[in-house]
């Protein structure tokens, strides 16, 4: 069923564009140009963060950190290998993208750990970044329970990811 989703969405968007008499070729290429700016902005982040993630993993520090958390995460059925990703996810999207890349390289893209890491990455956002720019722009200094709620929601997403991957894949 999942294979129908992306073609279906693209077909729906293009059909809606044609129906509403949108110059779709222009909006597609203009959007792609905007995407190019996004991409250029993330390349330096990926290069820099990938280096730190690579050192962290190759040194064995990642595995050690994972083993520290293993007694807690095993209660929720979370494999310890994805613990560093879960910890860094609210802080930096590029760092976890780099981690996801390395997890897939090490365990294989079809492994349970890789699928789980992918779902964890895809179902959450960079919570601290969102808080920083939204509250920063509005000049809010006392942020109340926002951080706590955001991080608890991330934790909920990670635990749900375990069940979702187990049941749906």
């Amino acid at each position: 069923m999942a294979v129908w989703l992306i073609p279906g969405i693209i077909a729906f968007v293009i059909a809606a564009g044609v129906y509403r008499k949108v110059n779709i070729y222009d909006t597609l290429t203009d959007g792609a140009k905007e995407g190019l700016h996004t991409w250029i902005a993330i390349v330096p982040q990926l290069v820099i963060m990938m280096a730190a993630v690579a050192v962290f993993r190759a040194s064995g520090a990642a595995a050690w950190l994972a083993s520290l958390f293993a007694p807690i995460t095993s209660l929720f059925g979370i494999p310890p290998e994805v613990v560093p990703l879960a910890i860094i996810r609210p802080i930096s999207g590029s760092a976890t993208l780099a981690m996801l890349d390395q997890i897939m390289r090490e365990f294989g893209a079809d492994s349970y750990i890789a699928k789980l890491a992918a779902v964890m990455q895809g179902s959450t956002d960079t919570t601290l970044y969102v808080l920083a720019i939204y509250f920063g722009a509005a000049g809010i200094k006392k942020t109340g329970d926002a951080l706590k709620i955001g991080l608890l929601a991330d934790a909920a997403a990670f635990i749900s990811a375990v069940f979702a991957v187990t049941w749906l894949l």
Binding site: A2, I6, M50, V55, K115, T124, G139, A153
Partner: protein
């Protein structure tokens, strides 16, 4: 929000320093410095490969989603979610224009239009501040709005699919449904705990 971005500057710097320095210290103690050297230089090539494998999908998908916006689909979705928002934000007067901004922000995020969602979200935030008597503390509505935003409900996590494809996943798109389910549960959970904390604050 976008799936990929920098982050809170101080926290990102701290995360970077932690990953790198703890890695070096660990390598020194455990005798894995040779592996670290190799991995460090490999990473520089791998990061460019990763960036290249993401370029096409980011460009193409932004194009498709810009078309969805031009065809009025983001607006349609915003209209659909508005009535639900009234229940989530009981403190905002019923016909206040900020509902439109919040709905557009959520709709743009849903379609993965991070660049479009952020400015709308910031405008919504400033409106919410005015509604809160221009105080510099977060109101209940602001916290609810951020909880919805950080839960990050996105239709298709395209970059994640692209990474799966790069590493030879048999069906890289099969993560869409589980990711959507997990993000949906986390958004619902965010709303529930937001209510809980709001009740606790008001005593």
């Amino acid at each position: 929000m976008d799936e990929i971005e920098g982050g809170d500057p101080l926290m990102v710097s701290a995360a970077f320093a932690f990953l790198l320095l703890s890695g070096f210290v660990f390598a020194a103690v455990n005798g894995t410095m040779a592996d670290v050297n190799t991995a460090l230089f490999q990473s520089m090539e791998q990061s460019i490969q990763l960036a290249l494998s993401l370029a096409g999908v980011i460009l193409f998908w932004t194009g498709v989603m810009k078309t969805a916006e031009a065809a009025g689909l983001v607006r349609s979705l915003a209209t659909i979610v508005q009535p639900i928002l009234r229940r989530l934000f009981p403190d905002i007067p019923n016909s206040h224009p900020v509902f439109g901004l919040i709905a557009s922000n959520m709709a743009a995020n849903f379609f993965g239009l991070g660049n479009a969602a952020t400015p709308i979200g910031l405008r919504a935030m400033r409106e919410l501040r005015q509604l809160n008597g221009d105080k510099d503390s977060a109101s209940r509505s602001m916290i609810t709005f951020l909880a919805l935003n950080t839960a990050g409900v996105t239709l298709i996590p395209t970059t994640v699919i692209a990474i799966g494809l790069k590493h030879g996943a048999t069906n890289p798109a099969d993560i869409i449904l589980p990711a959507f389910l997990a993000t949906f549960i986390s958004a619902c959970f965010a709303i529930v705990i937001d209510r809980h904390y709001a009740r606790k604050r008001s005593g």
